[in-house]
Symmetry: C2
Subunit: 338 residues, 2 copies
């Protein structure tokens, strides 16, 4: 299967990926947290049928969460292909994964349907366009709960309206290094956007990677939400690039030393936590984007940022491991890939 | 010229080098700190003549300190070929350096003569034997101040008697790492030996390298002093080796990780203080001696430990540098040599 993160993207020196997801619920069926197992099966079956009717079933793989090993479930989460929430109540939930890796239709997560699109680089318009197209094709068969006044109804009121969350995963090592990141995040949150860590709400910003997304889903059109987010991301990209250029001049040796040492540790370390690895990989990515580190491919780094996560690591070595073994094998994997 | 540290030595996994020096003074001439410039010239000339009479002048190079650039003076100190004291009052002092690099006759240091021999590895007997032989050949011409009761008279009473100081420079990374070093140093000082840092009295133990030497020069024969020091050094060698073996089993990955990371930083760093470089080189040497790091030569590490010192570094790049430039060029040199 193609991995979405094997590609390189537009503005890929700062933006790792773009993502759009919409929440939809079927009329006259209780929200997932209130429904019976039978009702959840009904939802599953309705979605399967809708995809078949849209003649899209050949383009998707279908996975029931309970049919996946716990390891495989977490690998999909680490790859950002499904949400952590989807695997919590694993008897009810399932998902359709588009074979090019760019779209997932999650069933019985917090809402009956969560349609997500994911692409490398700054591709918010493309993500929205694909998401909207999938939405339309499903709506031909499915009746989505919709209110004239509020828009799409969702399990959690914060999603009601467009049901849309758009986000960009951005790598801001220079803004963090120089201490500017916090100012920017404050400004961003004042205009109704949210900054989160690598794996969404409540997770920390490993490897200087942040998710910036819209907070509100009501009172604006989808296009307005996307456009606003895009404008802000472009401003942040400019700021990060400006800071990299400044650092390259004003703190040349200090920065080169830091970035190269991180490469040295990645190439020679024998025990490594995922947190440390993320930060070292962040440095190397910064070094590549700044033209300081030349013999490493940025794509390999983005790839490693997912491969070194606990489940993906165990999947790679094809066995379960305890914490210590993971730290040893993580260092081995990193050495192998660099 | 052959550098003494280009060879590898007996018990070289722990003992870097052995050194013996004896203090001698000429009869009826004031000690250096009290004498006139004319008297210091007289001493210089007497020693030159004694070496000529012994037909040894072809085996030595002769340097007046004032004839050397400040940089060259410090290079000799960093190479342990002369003492820091010798270059302090540079109008009076000089030295003869044996062409194989193993012996130095310092003139007008704290005493009129300081004869020093220096060899790689544990070679205290050989150092003493060479030192004694040079002493004998000079004594055929020179009258050394000698008292029936006290032995050889010296400027500082702590050297009176044999005038002998024997020392071994030992590398004890495992004893430091496990915290045992301090216990051992306490025990050593209780039996009349002294532990010092890399460049003698008052210097710190960079790179886990310690000088262990006799404290007393009176009341024991030279052979007894040498034998006692040798016995203690052998015990410390055994202890360090035992600790390395223990670490290789009980903390295998932790130790490998630490040592390899140090190699990684040495190979990739862009700014490096001499203190940090010494500690990283110490780790790599430990890794080589333990058979963990295989593609680096221990001799290159010992060599680098001297080359990265401030004066030697500037000599290598053939120009004077400020602190920041030294740190950049030190990292460059290390990368080049590894």
């Amino acid at each position: 299967m193609t991995k979405w993160y094997d590609e390189s993207g537009i503005n890929g020196d700062v933006v790792i990926s773009s993502r759009v997801r919409i929440a939809r619920n079927l009329e006259n069926i209780k929200f997932p947290q209130a429904m019976t197992l039978e009702e959840s099966e009904l939802v599953n079956n309705k979605v399967i049928r809708a995809i078949e009717r849209a003649d899209e079933h050949a383009n998707y793989d279908y996975f029931k969460i309970k049919g996946l090993s716990p390891l495989d479930r977490h690998v999909f989460v680490e790859e950002h292909l499904i949400s952590p929430n989807l695997i919590k109540d694993f008897n009810r939930s399932s998902f359709f994964l588009k074979k090019d890796g760019k779209a997932t239709i999650m069933v019985n997560e917090e809402d009956h349907l969560r349609i997500q699109t994911l692409m490398m680089g700054l591709k918010l318009d493309e993500c929205w366009s694909l998401c909207s197209q999938i939405d339309d094709s499903l709506e031909e068969t499915l009746d989505f709960a919709f209110d004239e006044k509020f828009g799409y109804l969702t399990s959690c009121p914060t999603n009601t309206g467009t049901g849309l969350r758009a986000s960009a995963m951005i790598h801001l090592p220079s803004l963090v290094y120089t201490g500017y990141a916090n100012n920017i995040f404050r400004a961003v949150s004042q205009i109704g956007l949210t900054v989160r860590g690598l794996y969404g709400e409540g997770t920390s910003a490993l490897g200087n990677i942040f998710q910036i997304s819209n907070q509100t889903t009501l009172g604006e059109t989808e296009e307005e939400i996307i456009q606003k987010l895009k404008n802000v991301v472009i401003q942040i990209i400019d700021k990060e690039r400006e800071m990299r250029n400044n650092l390259a001049v004003s703190r040349k040796y200090e920065v080169e030393d830091k970035l190269y040492r991180s490469l040295g540790i990645l190439k020679y370390g024998r025990i490594m936590s995922s947190e440390e690895a993320m930060n070292l990989l962040s440095d190397v990515k910064m070094g590549i984007e700044m033209g300081i580190i030349k013999d490493v491919d940025a794509k390999d780094i983005t790839n490693l940022m997912i491969l070194i996560q606990p489940a993906s690591l165990q999947k790679y070595f094809d066995r379960e491991m305890d914490l210590q073994e993971r730290q040893i094998k993580r260092a081995e994997l990193v050495r192998e890939k660099l």
